[in-house]
Amino acid sequence: MSSPHSLSPRLRRNLSAYGFLIGGVVCFALFSWYPMVREIIMSFQKTQLGVTSWAGLVNYRRIFNDPTFWTAWRNTLEFTLLALIFGFAVPFFVAILLNELRHAKGYLRCLVYLPVMLPPASALLLFAYFYDPTYGLFNDILHTLHLPTSQWVLSSGTRWPTAAMISVVIAATWMNMGGATLIYLAALQNIPGELYEAAELDGAGIVKKIRHITIPQTRLVISMLLLLQIIATMQMFVEAFILDGGQGVNNNTESVVYLIYQYAFAMSSASNFNSAAALGVVLLIVLAVFSGGYVWLTRTRDH
């Protein structure tokens, strides 16, 4: 056994750090990086009669020629955009509201976070009941108020923004906003009170305080959550899958990840796994380019 003194001083200094790292690295390597590499390899292969062989760009050509490919991208972007409007702005303003409250703060924070604790499938099944065109709560309310009822997630329109996608986004926002709200709230509470006092002395109203103090002071958190939310919403799947079976009427809620799922699991053929892998790689590239560009832009600004 060699003496610790034989190790280089730098290695010795960082030994415990490497020790801590190793668990994470092994987990990432096994469960993230290796599958990603396999996915990329698979996307250039085909499997027939148990034999896997190289297929060049066949899988990529197939997915680009699939008529639902562009529909799925269009829907995914629609969801991302609507989720930004609803899911990004709503938690921010709810956080500001919670921060301003003097009473029942803990109770309301708990209330806002509660939906996050529900398993997504349960929360979405709840909304599936709300949206049911025959027995649903929302149509019951509209009916009681003598207002026209809706097909909600089963609406057939395909023109942006579709009623179906707005319904999906409302459910997704309700389900997920608690987490973002708490993060905003934490950021808001780090803003020194003196800034607001000074602004008040200068005669600033609530809008000016938000614009000139709150937003600039929470810019870093907003920027990080924006990135995370866009990456998450581009991978929309479970929401539409439970609410309307995934595709929606006239494919108006079919997303890219749902299409991957369809290729991989619903079409029951081994060769479709390779097409699913190809579509997964395309999505990975789009998100990687977006994330890289976003990080580069925000870094430039910081400088």
Binding site: M42, Q48, G50, P67, P133, V249, S268, S269
Partner: protein, 467 residues
């Protein structure tokens, strides 16, 4: 006969969600691993454990008890064999099976639908069992109908053993027919009659609808295929290379459904329904008619959903002419994992023969089923011809408990079984949105929907044949 609760083309949403959520993108790659695992292996002592057989869940106490009795009897007679069962209401969930085959983690013996052999072969996970099946190991083999053996055969190689088959007809709620002033002994045979009867039933109110159909989880495309077959159409050409449903027959089916939903208002506004939903509505007395195989009644509506067996009957599939030209037909078969040892294959076949293919025992222990109060006497499965077929009919007649006249128009129609189209699940998936649109969009452009689906299906078929 009461063992397996078949999902057919579909799968339950929650199961799908679990798979999707747990696996995600990375799983597409992870599941491709060609490594195989098996919890069941033959030991050096000659003892063999074989697993994967589809058993009723404990929530169906009577069939569950019967299954366990059968396992105990079999293991007592074959002390060197241990049978491992999968207790599930639906053993063949297509999404799960596809993932298992891709990963090589399917059970030693796995239940499949008749259309699944190609994907098992593509994944390299189906063992050749030709040499193991003969008149000694499966005495009734020569009498099994050829339409049940074809789906487990490729060329001259046998890959599986069929255990169940079905065709489809129109399940009716006789109670609702009577309440609506209709004669339940003459179920409708044309789409026009279905409209009239469904409208009358819907007028009963109280959340009751005359007709129901699927439009999610590949079940919409599955039912469209059967309705098209009945109308004299077919999903693809004979070679299975191009779509052939954008025809008058296809239009007639979709127009009939659209009229039922929006003109007659005889279908619910709640659509995007998958397998399992219409059975519940039927059991609850809220649905007048839907298309299904007879086992929906005796395996799901009565034992699981609590319906009264005397409330149901069946007619032939609706068509424009009133005489169905054909029906989608399918069934279940056990395939064997490629990694299985010869001892496991032999043990598996022995159990399947005992449980599923011997008159008087296992699923055909009709005396026991009658004694415990399970309904007996349904027309399907019709697995046998020749001497076994005659013996089966005699057995059925001896123990029948249901009123067979409730099913006479279905039985007399003697529908031609058309099997299932090539690349069936992919085709069903492509037709699901068409069905959903027809059932939810009052302004659905049916010619456009059919043209769009045709383009999609042609691409799928070109891809399967071209690799």
């Amino acid at each position: 006969m009461h063992r397996r609760l078949h999902g057919r083309a579909g799968y339950r949403k929650v199961a799908g969600v679990t798979v999707a959520a747990a696996l995600g993108l990375a799983a597409v790659a992870a599941c491709s691993s060609s490594s195989t695992t098996s919890a069941s292996t033959a030991s050096d002592t000659g003892h063999v454990t074989v697993g994967g057989f589809c058993a009723p869940p404990s929530s169906s106490p009577v069939p569950y008890k019967e299954w366990n009795e059968d396992v105990a009897t079999f293991e007592k007679a074959n002390p060197n064999i241990t049978i491992q069962s999968i207790y599930s209401a639906q053993c063949d969930v297509p999404a799960t099976l596809t993932a298992q085959l891709a990963a090589g983690t399917e059970p030693d013996v796995y239940e499949t639908y008749f259309g699944d052999l190609n994907q098992a072969l593509d994944a390299g996970q189906a063992a050749d069992i030709t040499q193991y099946v003969n008149s000694t190991t499966v005495p009734v083999w020569k009498d099994i109908v050829p339409s049940a053996i074809a789906p487990v055969t490729a060329g001259k190689t046998l890959y599986g053993i069929p255990i169940f088959n079905y065709t489809q007809g129109l399940v009716i709620n006789r109670q609702l027919f009577t309440q609506a002033g209709l004669n339940p002994n003459t179920p409708p045979t044309t789409w026009a009659q279905v409209e009239t009867d469904a409208t009358a039933i819907t007028k009963l109110g109280n959340g009751i609808y005359g007709y129901g159909d699927y439009s999610a989880d590949n079940n919409g495309g599955w039912h469209f295929t059967s309705e098209l077959d009945a109308n004299g159409g077919a999903m693809t050409n004979a070679a299975g290379t191009t779509a052939s449903f954008d025809t008058t027959q296809g239009m007639q089916v979709l127009n009939a459904l659209h009229t039922l939903r929006f003109t007659d208002k005889a279908m619910s506004a709640t659509e995007a329904l998958g397998w399992g939903t219409l059975q519940k509505q039927m059991a609850a007395g809220k649905l007048g008619m839907y298309i299904a195989a007879p086992d929906d009644i005796y395996q799901v509506i009565v034992p699981i959903d609590g319906g009264n067996v005397n409330d149901y009957g069946m007619g032939p599939l609706p068509s424009v002419s009133g005489t169905p030209a054909g029906t989608l037909s399918g069934g279940d078969a056990y395939l064997f994992a490629k990694r299985d040892t010869p001892a496991q294959i032999e043990a598996g076949i022995k159990w399947i023969n005992f449980q599923d293919l011997t008159l008087g025992q296992g699923q055909y222990n009709l005396a026991r089923n009658k004694a415990v109060g399970l309904p007996v006497g349904f027309y399907e499965p019709q697995m046998f011809q020749g001497a076994t077929g005659t013996a089966y009919t005699a057995l059925l007649n001896k123990y029948t408990t249901i009123n067979e006249s409730y099913y006479s128009t279905f039985v007399n129609a003697n529908e031609t079984p058309d099997g299932q189209p090539a690349d069936d699940q992919a085709l069903y998936k492509t037709l699901d949105p068409v069905m959903l649109s027809v059932l939810t969009n009052p302004n659905a452009n049916i010619p456009q929907l059919l043209a769009g689906a045709t383009a999609g299906v042609n691409q799928i078929l070109a891809n399967s044949s071209g690799g």
